[in-house]
């Protein structure tokens, strides 16, 4: 590989990583702090994409104008689902698999019945439709935008978790729910907001990837599986770990798929995940193990 090709694959890897991170971030927060295995995460991604489509089709809003509404909409939906269903299941996290699977199935069919089963089109903002030269390589401007956006979202999330009283409370509950409640922290409310925030992030992810990928009711399923790999590999309670594992998986995918093809890349990346987890079961960047 010549230097330009290496550079170009490096950036491609970062771009793949940024999409993985975007999708995984919401899951990392929900799973890391509440222990809920949210199989409906992919459906929140899908709902985000469909919100973008609906806002564009019925209100003629472009993607930038819709982002805020999409976040609010999906977060609100996440909050309602948490209040109605998930709230009752914190004591038995394994059962959340079944409940969130059910919620996912319901969301898919609800969208199919209301928005139709065919592929949908979300327009790419025209300012970003071309490619730009980045570090000597021709790259899609929209991919660069996603890269920057997900980095910004990550920083915001990190700030939220470590620098605000909300984050302090959330981490207190995660580490010791009893002590936290004796200090008067309302874990009920905090968990509800956390779930809403995670769902909102998933919605943003869906909206942002929709101009690059395809929008259809089942689109979320592959994303939730990838996101789980990223989160578990990174270490379930480590936000930093999530970033690094996304970068590792993105770069691995990028270089292997350039050298061979995407089928082999996918298989080898999964094998790498298996081996890494086997020899570092607490995840790459975490010292704690959630049972």
């Amino acid at each position: 590989m010549d230097p330009t090709a290496i550079m170009s694959q490096l950036i491609t890897g970062l771009s793949i990583a940024s999409i993985l991170l975007l999708v995984a971030l919401g899951l990392a927060i929900i799973y890391g702090s509440t222990g809920v295995i949210n199989l409906a995460h992919g459906e929140f991604v899908m709902l985000g994409a469909y919100s973008a489509w609906a806002l564009q089709t019925f209100f003629s809003l472009n993607l930038f104008q819709s982002l805020f509404f999409i976040f609010v909409l999906t977060a609100l939906l996440g909050w309602i689902i948490e209040r109605v269903v998930i709230r009752h299941l914190y004591a038995r996290p394994l059962d959340t698999i079944l409940a969130t699977w059910g919620i996912g199935v319901i969301s898919i069919q609800a969208i199919r019945l209301s928005a139709g089963g065919e592929l949908r089109y979300v327009e790419m903002p025209s300012q970003l439709a071309s490619s730009v030269s980045f570090l000597g390589v021709d790259v899609s401007a929209f991919r660069i935008f996603i890269l920057i956006f997900s980095a910004a979202l990550f920083i915001l999330t990190w700030y939220l978790m470590f620098k605000t009283s909300f984050g302090v409370k959330l981490r207190a509950i995660t580490q010791n729910p009893e002590v936290a409640s004796s200090f008067g922290i309302n874990s009920d409310r905090i968990f509800g907001l956390t779930f809403a925030y995670g769902a909102g992030l998933a919605g943003l992810a869906g909206a942002l990837i929709s101009p690059l990928k395809s929008v259809y009711p089942e689109m979320g399923t592959p994303y939730v599986i990838d996101a789980f790999f990223v989160v578990v590999l990174g270490g379930v309670e480590s936000l930093m770990g999530t970033v690094f594992s996304a970068i590792i998986l993105g770069e691995l995918t990028s270089f292997i798929s350039f050298q061979s093809n995407d089928t082999i890349a996918k298989a080898l990346v999964l094998l790498a995940i298996v081996i890494l987890i086997r020899f570092r079961p607490q995840g790459l960047f975490s010292s704690k193990v959630r049972g």
């Binding site: 090709a5 170009s8 694959q9 491609t12 771009s15 793949i16 999409i19 898919i108 069919q109 199919r112 089963g117 065919e118 592929l119 949908r120 089109y121 327009e123 790419m124 439709a129 071309s130 490619s131 021709d138 790259v139 899609s140 401007a141 929209f142 991919r143 101009p211 690059l212 990928k213 395809s214 929008v215 259809y216 009711p217 089942e218 689109m219 592959p222 995918t253 990028s254 798929s257 350039f258 093809n261 995407d262 089928t263 890349a265 996918k266």
Partner: protein
């Protein structure tokens, strides 16, 4: 008193559970009423397209086209006065469910024919029941060929019908360096086998041949490979939602269809609607049907389809055969005496059936049960519709074993020559 009440309770419990049982497994109570296929002035057919699951995005439109044709026929008096009764099942994009639902339609509902399937895998999954139970399956999708079943009527294109004119035309117009990319399953691999044979004859070079997993949506590395290998033509047999992702990422990556067009056998108006005209413009597709085809039959078809299913809906090269094959079925059944109606008699009556479909006049080849079609080459415009650049001068014979000259599909089955 107490005893009486108990026994009453017991009885009502039994009754309730019986009700529960019937509502849960209703078919237990429907006994085989008669062996005749056409009874009570009705002809029962199965409609087997996925309404849910990953391929639902396309099969849904095939279901709609089929249902519309059935409604039209029934509204204009049915078949010799008999109504077509469709039994619609949802095989959920899963081969095992396809097989299960096909069994229901054949064994339980006693359908005389079944219209269905999009993927090769689902067709292969339903074949055993049609072959072992001597029923008839109508398959509207373009496919890889190399099948010679007496129990399937194939109304989609086979490789020779899509490629024989397309490949030489592309070579002449753009050049001899080809990049073959497809989804990882039999259809793309077989189309590429055929394509490679044609390219060899034309003295071309295949710079890469690669397959991505089904449902793949990350084409960043693929786009980089396009950039570094600089082929003259990208020959794409990527299917489903992946088509949309490939086109959008190609465009976002700054590639230009003027110098490196994608030539596809699988990109239809359906996918173009989802990728946007911008991403589709300048790329080529070869198919027997495009929505813009100018003919009275097509105008009627498109208008009826939009009126029935919505103004934003599109017709495409798989929904069109889904539509016209129901009319072929009608023509075949019309020839039969109601008491003779059965899958095998319909098959015999279908041989050689001709009609004017939206794409032009079509005919079932008696030997192969495949269809004579009118291949066309289209280039996509930024409004999401194709412009038809060329059409074959005559209907093209289907040759499902064209790449394998020592094998031939005949009325007696596959023959070694």
């Amino acid at each position: 008193m107490d005893k009486k009440r108990r026994s009453f309770l017991k009885k009502s419990a039994v009754g309730a559970s019986a009700v529960a049982a019937t509502s849960m497994f209703p078919s237990i109570w429907i006994k085989n009423s008669s062996l005749a296929y056409a009874a009570k002035g009705e002809v029962k057919v199965g409609v087997l397209f996925s309404l849910t699951g990953t391929t639902g995005i396309i099969e849904e439109s095939l279901n709609k086209a089929t249902i519309m044709a059935i409604e039209e026929i029934n509204d204009s008096g049915g078949i010799n006065g008999m109504k077509i009764v469709p039994v619609v099942e949802d095989p959920a994009s899963d081969p095992a469910t396809f097989a299960a639902k096909a069994r229901k339609l054949v064994l339980n509902d006693k359908c005389v024919s079944v219209f269905g399937s999009y993927t090769s895998a689902s067709r292969k999954a339903v074949l055993p029941v049609f072959e072992k139970r001597e029923n008839l399956y109508w398959y509207p999708t373009l496919y890889e060929g190399r099948e010679c079943s007496k129990n399937v009527i194939y109304t989609g294109a086979v490789p020779n019908q899509q490629q024989d004119e397309f490949v030489p035309w592309l070579v002449e117009k753009f050049g001899k360096r080809w990049y073959l990319i497809g989804s990882n399953y039999i259809y793309p691999k077989e189309e590429n086998n055929y394509c490679k044979k044609l390219l060899e004859g034309l003295g071309c070079e295949v710079v890469a041949e690669e397959y991505v997993p089904l449902g793949h949506s990350e084409f960043a590395s693929v786009v980089n490979k396009f950039k570094s290998l600089k082929p003259n033509v990208i020959f794409s047999t990527v299917v489903g939602d992946s088509v949309v992702a490939l086109h959008r990422q190609y465009r976002a990556g700054g590639l230009d269809p003027e110098t490196m067009p994608m030539a596809s056998l699988t990109t239809s108006e359906n996918e173009v609607a989802a990728m946007g005209g911008d991403a589709a413009a300048g790329h080529f597709t070869s198919a027997p049907y495009f929505m813009v085809w100018d003919s009275p039959e097509n105008q009627k078809f498109v208008e009826a389809y939009r009126k029935r299913w919505g103004e934003d809906k599109v017709t495409h090269f798989v929904s069109e055969p889904s539509y016209f094959q129901v009319y072929m079925f009608k023509q075949a059944v019309e020839k039969l005496d109601p008491s003779d109606i059965a899958p095998d008699t319909i098959r015999e009556a279908t041989k050689g059936v001709e009609m004017v479909a939206p794409q032009g006049p079509v005919k079932i080849d008696p030997a192969t049960l495949h269809t004579y079609l009118w291949p066309k080459i289209g280039v996509c415009k930024s409004d999401g519709q194709f412009e038809i650049l060329q059409q074959s001068s005559e209907w093209l014979e289907p040759v499902p074993y064209k790449a394998y000259p020592n094998q031939q599909c005949t009325e007696e089955g596959l023959k070694e020559v």
